[in-house]
Amino acid sequence: MNFIGKGIPKIDGISIATGKPVYTEDLVMANALVVKILRSPHAFAKITSIDTAQAENLPGVACILTHRDVPKIRFTLAGQSYPEPSPYDRYILDEMVRYVGDEVAIIAAVDEKTAVKAMHLIKVEYEVFEPVLDFEKAEGHPSVVHPEDDLHCNFDIGLNKDKNIASSKYVEIGDVEEELKKCDVVVEETYYTQAQAHAMMETYRAFSYLDHSGRLVVVSSTQIPFHVRRQLARALQIPASRIRVVKPRIGGGFGGKQTGAVEVFAAIVTLKTGQPAKIIYDRKETFTCTTSRHAMRLKVRLGADLDGTIRALDIQGLSDTGAYGEHAPTVFSVVGEKTLPLYNKTKAVRFLGNAVYTNKMPAGALRGYGATQGTFALECTVNKLAQKLGMDPAEIRLKNLIRQGETSLPYQGKLLGSSTLDKCIETGKNLIGWQEKYPSQEVGSNKVRAVGMAVTMQGSGIAGIDTASAEIRLHDEGNYTLLIGSTDMGTGSDTILAQMAAEVLETSLENIIVNAADTDVSPYDPGSYASSTTYVTGMAVVRAAEDLKKQILEHGAKFLEISPAEVEFDGKTLQTLDGNKAIGLRELAPLLVLGTGKQQLVGTATYGSDVSPPPFIAGFAEVEVDKETGKVDLLDYVAVVDCGTVINSNLARIQVEGGIVQGIGMALYEDVRYDQKGNLLTNSFMQYKIPCRKDIGTVRVAFEESFEPTGPFGAKSIGEVVINTPAPAIAHAVFNAVGVQVTTLPITPEKVFMGMGMEKAK
């Protein structure tokens, strides 16, 4: 292998690191109108009147749009393959406003000052309703968040809008209640996970203009250019063929940019005015008017034999999807999908519950996509079971977890193609020093150190749905363009896919131009989400490269006047097996493109997988807890990863470190608070604290590679699984330190301190 497994630098690395103008805002034309949004100050209200006359008369204002000016067609902003499972429950602008920050009017002006001034001149009157703020009281609340008749679902997702239920789920394999009765021990706990923010450094932004043929061009920092094109076509009621979506470099996404936050607002301004328009969200809008992780309540019941064999697992969930249902059914389903198969000695498993509408910011896709919430609940409960049985938590997992070649109830006979999770656990134990440190040791009079652990699985793409295409073109100079529609948001996927192509074509990375993504040019790709790019798009790239290599051999053979079977290609030269005749690619390529061959070679492939092979992680945390204050210092975090074959060792490591730290944020610092009127209080980096450098201790990463038979070079995904273990592992360590089980994230010093008080009082 020349490229696979190597720590190859990102092909765009030096440019982006040294500040080159390659992001969306850097490319905006100078005369673009500035788009601003007037937002609802109420959590739930109906606009009874809206007067824009004064604002429209302000010099420099290009247009002001209200609910009267938009197509009355409902759509979803969820970036999902058509037909989307998310409900079509929003207009571009609606008469009803459903959360503080919901859009009331779109203002476009020559500059920001004028736009803001115009915004203040718009007079709006509202009929204010009692909002639904507590998601545990949403079901059957007198206020109905979506009373409209034209709300549409592509599938039966269990929507019951009169009861504020966006989606409902029930899966049961075996008889859970019956099996629980037979179990020697049953542990039960209810957990709450917060509406974590993505907090990518580049906020949401897009600009749009009409091109030479009058088509709408939208340049956006998005993970989903093709889905955005489809959303815009529906929302704006114009043919998709009249729309082009271009994605430049992206300043981080984490799933946030899998939902179309801003594109439609710039696009409608361009359509109405004919002028270029840009919209750039500030950090407050990003926190309050886009999407977050779905906050959830998860009640877990886990039944086991006395020897620790897990026999029954029941998870009952409630998910807060906020004002709109982007990703509501799918995120909720994933809670069960990525937890129920993990321990396969079970005789019955069940996952059920509802995702409910509330009058808060919508939830959406965020790295982990339900698996994060589910893992926290399940793994905390497994740790509780170990505690109850007096077993080592690592042992109880080794005893129960699904292994390579095995099935589990939800897999219905399908076998797990690859896993080294057992090795991950052993390696992790050694790295953290589990034998010596578990469960805890006193250090000084006020401090105690302890370790904790959790394991997790995710998927690699969406089985049966994610389908990506790739094209590789051979140019006249013997170099290649790799055309893909996936969206490298900093992960390095452009580099990784180029590595795969280079490996197959036996060429250098410099010899491959990567082009992504432009809906006019790129082959279709759903976009980079659901841990799909390395696995799904990667396989398309491998096959496209193989296709092209085959064509090169065929055409080379023609020039050498011999059969393709008698020619070999080493990436530079085509040579007959007997070594008598040869032609260099540098000679062949111009003949094909410019000369007598008259056929430019293009390798193509489309790939989708019937399975979504899970990557696995064993995570281990060592904390030091201050027994007088409840302050938790994370000292060390060890993550041992099975992502199949590691394609790029450096980029994989950074993915893990970054995801672990995002998980640490969720575990310890990232608190989400609303006031009683539905205003988000944690709406800036000053109030919503993502981890800083001093907050994370040391994060150490190791790989236990498996070989996934369905993946490119044996690879599985890595992007999402990395965020799942910190919350349960740290919660476990805190429990082992001071006996306090914090079940509501984040684990703040106050919760630990108050918990210790309750323990003492017992």
Binding site: T629, K631, L668, Y669, K689, P691, C692, D695, P749, F753
Partner: protein
């Protein structure tokens, strides 16, 4: 988005004060970090850059800190590192980041009497005076109690003495505002206990200070002083912590700070 109609850079304090008091919308510019968070419409903004108000000097019995001195200046000042066990550099060193501390000023922070301030808590534990252009020089404690009047804070003076001092805080994330902060100082047998970010602004616990000054810092005395501070001062709730938690933490941090002062050289 705040706006500034006029901008002046006066050559004298008199001129600056004159502009300041001319209109209620006129404002002195500090580091502007907090100004930026609001949407204040400033008539005339007054920039004090030409008044030579930055820098840390030892003048006679006092260390003098100009109003335009930045937090980063405090953090790396050799004089302050060596005075009072480095309590002032320590109190500001955790605030956000170097590039932020290179902007925010001592004058604006003290004048604004921010409740979450780390610096005020530390300053209050020392013998600190503030100098205002109109109201003149007064002890910091007196300034903090006074109802706000439009004036220009020009300098902060800290009495040079053998005072030993310790600053303690509790933060959720290390770059967050404190849940609570405490500074304790001791000069001979005179103790002072200050608690800030309650989330109300820093205040001296008279009873705790008295207890230590009278009874000395025996283990029982320390525990008693910590209890007194928690009882005497009022605590509130915000997103960083409840009043109940703050009260409990006050006891812990005061006890730790006093104990650490005893170990100071």
């Amino acid at each position: 988005m705040f706006t500034i109609q006029q901008l002046v850079q006066p050559d004298t304090l008199e001129e600056a004060y004159d502009v300041l008091t001319r209109d209620i919308s006129n404002t002195i510019l500090g580091g502007c970090a907090f100004l930026r968070l609001g949407s204040k419409k400033i008539g005339t903004a007054i920039d004090l850059s030409k008044l030579n108000l930055n820098g840390i000097k030892e003048q006679g019995d006092f260390i003098e800190i100009g109003a335009m001195t930045t937090f980063r200046d405090l953090e790396i000042s050799p004089v302050l590192k060596e005075s009072f066990n480095g309590v002032l550099p320590q109190s500001v060193s955790h605030i956000i980041g170097v590039q932020f501390r290179n902007i925010v000023t001592v004058g604006a922070t003290v004048y604004s009497k921010f409740g979450f301030s780390d610096l005020l808590t530390a300053l209050l534990a020392l013998d600190t005076d503030v100098e205002l252009y109109k109201a003149g020089r007064m002890p910091l404690a007196e300034f903090l109690e006074k109802s706000p009047q439009r004036d220009i804070l020009t300098r902060v003076f800290i009495k040079k003495n053998s005072c030993k001092a310790v600053y303690k805080d509790l933060r959720n994330s290390q770059s967050d505002f404190p849940v609570l902060n405490v500074a304790v100082s001791q000069k001979d047998d005179r103790w002072r206990v200050v608690v800030g970010a309650r989330p109300l602004r820093a205040q001296i616990s008279q009873q705790a200070s008295e207890e230590l000054s009278q009874g000395g810092a025996s283990p029982a005395g320390i525990a008693s002083a910590a209890r007194l501070a928690a009882e005497e001062l009022s605590f509130g709730s915000n997103i960083r912590g409840s009043a109940e938690y703050r009260k409990a933490m006050c006891k812990v941090l005061v006890e730790r700070a006093v104990t650490e002062v005893l170990q100071c050289k």
